[in-house]
């Protein structure tokens, strides 16, 4: 993309980019000043709505629309939760923003809070990001100093406080209602919906939850305008009435068996192949690619011959994947064993399942148990059918669970078995020549502790 200029990452790489001084030198907080001088909250909501911005946290929900779900003329308090729990395997774009450009995030957050009329915001950051925490905390102090936070911000009459809250290392705290429960000091068991957070969220008050990158986009939209934002990305697919289009720049996290792993900004809709070739410098060690995770492990798998898949909100779905997710692409080369991939994936989800829904708690555990046995040379062809059945039956899509973690656990299983069944079967037959055809229950293996 020679003609594409990064905006979200524009500051990244500059010396002292995390300080207010450097941020302000490149026009930082001008968007906030503009907003507080002359814009009404509903104007910003309108702007964000017409920009077509969709949430960057994984679900791709239209941000402006989400904000309009808040009850109109609510006497308050309304809370804003910034989701910085970033735990989807392969994902680190929030981290780059928070470490290298924390003020962009804060400016976007303050504007978003103004738009939603929240006067208190919680910045929920995973505990595994010490540097991001340090820099964001420092940036917050700088904002209070400069009067961008606190009472009567820049003389506008609008007041806002932001509180940092650190997670304790659980994937489920990224699910928006798990996050809210955790914030309230409870076990992060996602809530049943309805009510949605916009109606009843943190401390039973209307609450907006948005991702770090989403609010950074808000800042850019306010600064550069709707037209600029819509000039990037892909319009809705006319063949898909439910596609709201994929506009704007996106931070892609590229990792795995490639030459130049990293976080890259590109227009939404770049193909997986382009991303690997132009940004990632191709597959490492001169090898061939075998597969890639399109957007965090929850989204499933693309085979190497599916790399022409456009990475927009609508693209991966056409290849049987769950969606774009967090746009974290993890590339696997030809030497990767799909048994290892699937075992790893199953183990992650069984470890992270919050454990309240029976199908998720037990299904993910059962899958891990079977994959462990397969890995240890005691697999059976039948296990693949059982695994596929688990993949088909757990999740909010079939309706059997409360949150999307189970869908995320299901997709890698489903995709892997569908797209790599032959390899899995060969492995099972090769490592278990005498028992692969067994269909009666076999003794379980001791699971290795994963805590």
């Amino acid at each position: 993309m020679p003609d594409f200029q990064p905006t979200l990452l524009a500051q990244v790489g500059k010396p002292e980019s995390h300080t207010r001084r450097v941020y302000e030198q490149s026009g930082g907080y001008q968007a906030l000043r503009k907003v507080l001088k002359g814009m009404a909250p509903k104007d910003i909501v309108e702007t964000v709505k017409s920009s077509g911005l969709r949430g960057r946290g994984g679900a791709g929900f239209p941000t402006g629309l989400k904000w309009t779900f808040l009850p109109p003329n609510h006497p308050g308090p309304i809370y804003f939760c910034l989701n910085a729990d970033e735990s989807e395997p392969g994902t680190f774009n929030n981290r780059i923003l928070m470490e290298d450009d924390p003020h962009q995030v804060l400016e976007g957050l303050i504007i978003s809070c103004f738009a939603t009329q929240a006067r208190v915001a919680y910045y929920y950051m995973r505990c595994e990001y010490p540097l991001a925490f340090e820099r964001t905390t420092a940036a917050l102090a700088e904002c209070y100093e400069a009067g961008y936070l606190g009472q009567n911000i820049l003389g506008s009459g609008y007041s806002l406080d932001i509180y940092m809250h650190r997670g304790a290392g659980a994937y489920i705290c990224g699910e928006e209602t798990g996050l809210i429960e955790s914030l309230e000091g409870k076990r992060a068991w996602p809530r049943i919906k309805p009510p949605f957070p916009a109606v009843e969220g943190a401390f039973r008050k209307p609450t907006v939850v948005n991702n770090v990158e989403t609010v950074a986009c808000v800042k850019q939209i306010v600064e550069r305008g709707v037209d600029w934002f819509k000039s990037i990305g892909i319009p809705p697919d006319p063949a898909n009435p439910r596609d709201a289009g994929s506009y704007g720049p996106k931070l892609y996290c590229l990792s795995g068996h490639i030459n130049r792993p990293g976080c890259y900004e590109a227009p939404l809709g770049i193909t997986c192949q382009d991303l690997i070739d132009r940004f990632g410098g191709g597959i490492w060690k001169g090898r061939q690619a075998k597969a890639a995770i399109p957007g965090g492990i929850s989204m499933g798998l693309l085979k190497a011959d599916e790399f022409h898949c456009p990475l927009d909100f609508n693209g991966p779905g056409k290849f049987g994947c769950l969606g774009l997710g967090t746009a974290a692409v993890v590339v696997m080369d030809e030497t990767t064993s799909m048994v290892d991939f699937l075992l790893n994936s199953c183990r992650f989800f069984s470890h992270e399942s919050c454990g309240q829904c029976t199908p998720c708690r037990e299904g993910t555990h059962w899958a891990t148990q079977m994959m462990t046995r397969i890995k240890h040379g005691k697999g059976r062809h039948r296990d693949l059918d059982l695994l596929a059945e688990i993949g088909e039956t757990i999740g909010i899509m079939p309706g059997t669970t409360i949150c999307g973690l189970a869908d995320g656990a299901a997709w890698p299983i489903k995709n892997c078995i569908k797209k790599f069944r032959q390899e899995l079967e060969e492995y099972i037959r090769r490592t278990n020549p005498t028992g692969w055809m067994e269909t009666n229950p076999v003794p379980a293996l001791e699971l290795v502790g994963i805590h």
């Binding site: 029976t358 199908p359 037990e362 993910t364 229950p441 076999v442 379980a444």
Partner: protein, 541 residues
């Protein structure tokens, strides 16, 4: 009337009723299996046993649009024109999945599990489970862990429905129980120190309810543990005599031995709960110290007497005794109080009728959802008082009567006790030294018992039948659950004989008579339903 459609059957719901899918289906006679949902607790919709198909019928066109995914019936409001499908293959598969999931790591130690026979996991497995195990065969583990004085946890049997946790948060308000770990490692526990020592045990006055709530054998009642297989027991509707709340209960017994008491749902009294004091307060029924031999005084000592002699002999003596008084304990039923009062007033129209001592302890204790443990530790003060007031035109209490003893020159005093433990002392007994004929009916010996000229062993709550009136004027009727031990005659039967009435003593017949005679009880004229009747309704009218 709005309707919902369950498996093609239309059922009417009240315009202001807010039912969920499980409750609506029940109206249609369809039971939707469920673990985590309980009408008395918040909805979490996590076990997913209640999955059904759901849709909407367009009232104008009659066209039904179904949702593509299954939904938990417990979380789905039965709004007008909602369509529930509970028996499709999709639903059956979902149930089979949940049952299979719950059995993946379950120890299946039913042969040594107290819950076997009344376990939802067992029942649902037979009704909805798969025929054969498909999962790996697990090594057997069944760990037991203490939670407190009343309840013990069989860790591996838990299906993680979180009912017990919600109970301690929402109903008892004490929050002792919690979930530890995550995912398949999750367990129920109490707060412990690092070395496993319990810091905050499950210790509240409603603790036993978590055992009833537990759909499986994970929570064990220490009082009941390993005493009886549930299928050997018969269950009898009854009313707790522990305090003036009068919780609706079930007395569960085998061969006249009570093994446990359980709450019985009654929205007007106890919802689904009962307190530990009531639940575990039945020891006196089988206490070896109970008196079981009727005796009469012969000079300084007492000699055995046969029950068949007692009624005629007492009747003859009482008729000649002159001034009479009867003390009626608040542990007797309304019917018993009525019969004894009637009898005494028929012998002596001026007979003094007094209510026995009212045991009280502390003050009323109210829990977050309204459940109340009363300070008044007897079931029927209001009922006995109403009978006495109506039949004698005034109320004399125990203290008043003791005061009258010296001056009133009673020819005979009848004291119907029925208390759970000895309740009087030598000083009280001494006050009766000049009364020529003292008759005491009671469960345990006491100084007054020793003073008695006739010692008549009486019944405990489990052996009685009749009605109590609780603190809020609700009258509840019940039948006996166990036969009294040999040598004990239930009070009501004896009074029936003394009155010379024909046939068997049946409390329901007596209640019909009382309801006609005493206005306070008139709501009970047409019989008393399981949940009792509100006597105040009549007072207000």
């Amino acid at each position: 009337m709005p309707v919902v459609i369950v498996d093609g059957k239309e059922i009417e719901i009240g315009a202001s009723e807010r039912l969920n899918g499980i409750q609506a289906a029940r109206r249609a006679g369809v039971e939707i299996p469920h673990y985590c949902w309980h009408a008395g607790l918040s909805v979490v919709a996590s076990c997913r046993m209640c999955l059904v198909e759901c849709g909407k019928r367009d009232p104008a066109t009659g066209k039904v649009t179904m949702q593509p995914r299954v939904v938990p019936a417990c979380q789905t409001p039965a709004a007008p024109d909602t369509v529930f499908i509970t028996a499709s293959d999709k639903v059956k598969n979902a149930r089979a999945m949940v049952e299979e999931d719950l059995l993946l790591r379950h120890p299946i130690d039913c042969p040594i599990c107290d819950k076997a026979g009344e376990c939802l996991l067992q029942d649902y497995h037979f009704q909805h489970g798969r025929e054969a195990r498909r999962a790996d065969i697990q090594p057997f583990t069944s760990r037991r862990r203490e939670l407190g004085d009343t309840v013990t946890l069989f860790v591996d049997r838990c299906v993680m429905c979180s009912r017990c946790v919600r109970f301690t948060r929402e109903v008892s308000g004490t929050s002792e129980l919690l979930v530890i770990n995550r995912g398949a490692q999750e367990e129920i526990d109490v707060f412990r120190s690092e070395d496993g020592e319990i810091q905050f045990p499950l210790d509240n006055k409603l603790s036993g309810n978590v055992v009833d709530l537990c759909p499986v054998g994970a929570l064990g009642d220490k009082d009941f543990l390993y005493k009886q297989r549930v299928w050997f027991m018969k269950s009898h509707d009854n009313v707790c005599a522990g305090c003036a709340t009068g919780c609706s209960i079930k007395v569960e017994e085998n061969q006249d031995r009570v093994y446990r008491l359980k709450p019985r749902e009654n929205p007007h009294v106890n919802q689904w709960w009962m307190c530990d004091e009531g639940r575990y307060g039945y020891d006196h029924v089988h206490d070896p110290a109970r008196v079981t031999q009727p005796r009469k005084r012969d000079g300084k000592r007492h000699v055995n007497i046969d029950w068949s002699q007692i009624a005629p002999e007492l009747d003859a003596r009482l008729r000649k005794a002159g001034r009479l008084a009867a003390v009626i304990s608040p542990h007797l039923t309304v019917e018993e109080a009525y019969l004894l009062a009637k009898y005494f007033r028929s012998l002596d129209p001026q007979a003094v009728l007094a209510i026995g001592p009212i045991p009280t302890e502390g003050s009323d204790e109210k829990f977050p959802t309204g459940f109340t443990i009363r300070a008044e530790k007897c079931p029927n003060r209001k009922g006995v008082e109403a009978v006495i007031s109506r039949l004698s035109g005034g109320l004399v209490n125990w203290g008043d009567l003791l005061g009258q003893l010296a001056s009133s020159r009673f020819g005979a005093v009848w004291i119907a006790g029925g208390y759970k433990s000895p309740w009087n002392d030598a000083q009280v007994a001494a006050k009766f030294s000049d009364v020529p004929l003292v008759i005491v009916q009671d469960c345990f010996a006491s100084p007054l018992w020793d003073r008695a000229d006739y010692q008549l062993p009486g019944a405990t709550f489990a052996e009685r039948e009749g009605s109590y009136v609780n603190a809020t004027d609700r009258l509840q009727s019940f039948r006996w659950a166990v036969r009294p031990p040999a040598g004990v005659m239930v009070e009501g039967r004896l009074y029936w004989q003394l009155l010379g009435r024909e046939g068997m003593y049946r409390a329901s017949d007596v209640m019909a008579e009382i309801a006609r005679e005493i206005t306070y009880f008139s709501t009970a004229t047409k019989g008393v339903p399981d949940v009792g009747v509100d006597l105040k309704v009549n007072q207000l009218a």
